[in-house]
Symmetry: C2
Subunit: 396 residues, 2 copies
């Protein structure tokens, strides 16, 4: 067969995480690899009542097509929630419902990127976003980071030197993979720079509500005076991922382009899923549910950090995330995290090697650990096994 | 604001149908415009039991992430069903679950089309597909059709003369918008031609199971010996569209590309929706449900055709679909279907003017009428009102 694929596929590979997750599906594997929420917190009993109520009250509407922008009562609730939690000032009309925030990432590439355009991102950055953007054949310039996230002087330098920067992708809160959060002054400085260069910003915020400690920091979207920030939100981490519901919040002239993408991509998000999540928010207390999630995750984070301190050699460094799902481990330079991952898998422990979080590659001694998905005894056991592998590696 | 969008957006407009559907949402409008199933046939009571059963038995799995390719028991049922209904010979591994078949259309563009590549399609063809492909900046060559669908001599001529044809998009069964079906000899001739030129074919088959009369005809996929046919299926028309579930069935080396697209686009289809549709098929009889749908639609088709014969002037022609959801009306050349649509809307009747089904434009005297969504009294009343407008147009 001589079928010819599009050139964009030449650089596209399957996600290393998604492939790894297949390996880690075996029940005996202690997995710190995915970004999965704790399933024991899912509101299963509540959703039984919710789904019956939706079908009872509006069954024919729930099973039919709906508008591309999404179910209005849900968009209203999202806008109200963003304004309350993130200090934005938006309405339902500023919201497009997407199939997870991942779809907002894909649309961002589709809306802004021609082949050869430049995307700026934190170094490291979320590989799922980088893979989505790669379909549109951009170049990536990674902006160096420190323990407080993106370094603004470095950002400004890159913007001065490059005129084909089409968008900037950032995760200012509890970043994936590093767990780092930008302090207030960086956010303000960032918006100053952005306003000067007028570059669209994709603010990916799946974890913002999951703050365990430290002061609240406003979203970039709430600091945006020029309509440059495109905010991506999701129900995956504050509710559950199985419904695949997220949203894009942007200025009208930008959101209308995302809406056109949505029409072509899949017409609309699931009608019944939107109505069910909306109904859950009406019948139950989503804020209280988020508090339960935080109470569970902060314990798991504490336990993972404490066990790493006890079990890992001193030369291994890791971040102390104030929220979210991940910590980022920096191994000594001579340790290859991918090779070590194989050895850990042999001991039935999994994590994601860090190199795929660098779009231009070249960093091999880091790894991302997820603490939200495993119960406490497995966190301790898994970190202990990793510690054994690590010590053996260092003795080589 | 000086934000620069990608060039691909220059030619992208919102779907005329989706915009029209907003206008036709008013309850007093008799709409032949959408492609919506009859909501009174949706299995609302059954889905109450199904959703409780899924959450009861596997709640934590249903609300969690799953694999990109989709829920295996559902993929197995789809493969079994395709083999039984469409005479294919496929397995679960040949199936990728998508967000409606619309997502399979978008991925087809992403997988095969570089800017300037040529897509062949029937003239007219489904505008939602054309819009999805337009994101990837191809050129379209429309292959002329007659009452039996695509004319094979014309197809062969175009293939001889053009070497940048990257894919062929067809709807051989009860085509959208024309309602036409390719007879067996065209299917065989088509496969001969395709095998000679080795061009990938997107076989869009949302309506194939909804045959009211005439003999069964095998899908192109079942005649495909070289792995060139990519089959797109959906639950929207045989079950309900609110779940947004469809599938792509293709040879492994092609399907793996679609899988990579799915990862970037939205990671996976809704876990719980997949499990619910799967459970419905286990608990109830989908074949019997399809029979109910057919029994309803054939009556509506008969009534629409009969009323058009009575109410429309003789110079107006229309197709006699053997299945599916649409009939195609050809007005005298001097009647502009878009202008007439405005006048019909004033009388609270809506349809889709035909011009947007021609990717290269230029045809203004056709319209697509849907008969699946309106109850019988409204079909009669709507066609009568259209007849009045038509006669007034012709007297001008």
């Amino acid at each position: 067969m001589a079928v010819k694929f599009a050139k964009r596929l030449d650089n596209l590979e399957g996600s290393a995480i998604r492939e790894l997750l297949k390996l880690t599906a075996r029940p005996e594997v202690i997995s710190f690899a995915g970004g999965m929420p704790a399933p024991e917190l899912f509101p299963v009993e509540e959703m039984k009542k919710v789904s019956v109520a939706v079908l009872e009250e509006q069954g024919k509407i729930a099973l039919q097509y709906t508008t591309t922008e999404g179910y209005k009562p849900l968009r209203e609730k999202i806008a109200e929630r963003m304004n309350r939690k993130l200090k934005t000032n938006v309405t339902a009309d500023d919201i497009l419902i997407t199939s997870g925030s991942q779809q907002g990432l894909d649309f961002s590439g589709k809306v802004f990127l021609d082949e050869g355009d430049i995307v700026l991102c934190e170094s490291p950055s979320y590989m799922g976003a980088l893979n989505a953007f790669k379909s549109y054949q951009p170049k990536f310039i990674e902006i160096p980071t420190d323990e407080n996230g993106m370094i603004m002087e470095e950002l400004e330098k890159v913007l001065e030197e490059n005129d084909r920067v089409k968008m900037i992708y950032v995760i200012p809160d509890f970043q994936n993979p590093s767990g780092r959060t930008w302090p207030m002054e960086r956010r303000q400085k960032f918006m100053e720079i952005i306003n000067k260069y007028e570059i669209p910003v994709i603010e990916d915020n799946p974890y913002g509500e999951l703050r365990f400690e430290g002061e609240f920091l406003p979203s970039l979207k709430s600091l945006d005076t020029k309509g440059l920030v495109i905010f991506l939100g999701t129900f995956s981490k504050i509710f559950c991922p199985g419904y695949r519901l997220g949203w894009t919040c942007a200025a009208p002239e930008i959101l209308t382009k995302y809406n056109i993408c949505k029409q072509g991509a899949d017409l609309q998000a699931s009608t019944i899923s939107q109505m069910e999540v909306n109904k859950f928010i009406e019948m139950y207390d989503l804020d209280a549910h988020v508090e339960n999630i935080k109470a569970c995750y902060v314990k798991r984070r504490d336990l993972m950090l404490k066990t790493m301190e006890e079990e890992f050699p001193d030369c291994v460094k890791f971040t102390h995330p104030q929220g979210g799902l991940f910590t980022w481990v920096i191994l000594p330079e001579n340790v290859n995290a991918s090779e070590m991952a194989q050895k850990c898998l042999e001991k039935n422990v999994a994590y994601v090697p860090g190199d795929s979080f660098f779009p231009n590659g070249g960093v091999y001694n880091c790894c991302r650990l997820n603490y939200s998905n495993m119960p406490e005894d497995k966190i301790v056991e898994g970190i202990k096994r990793m510690g054994e592998v690590l010590r053996a590696e260092l003795e080589k």
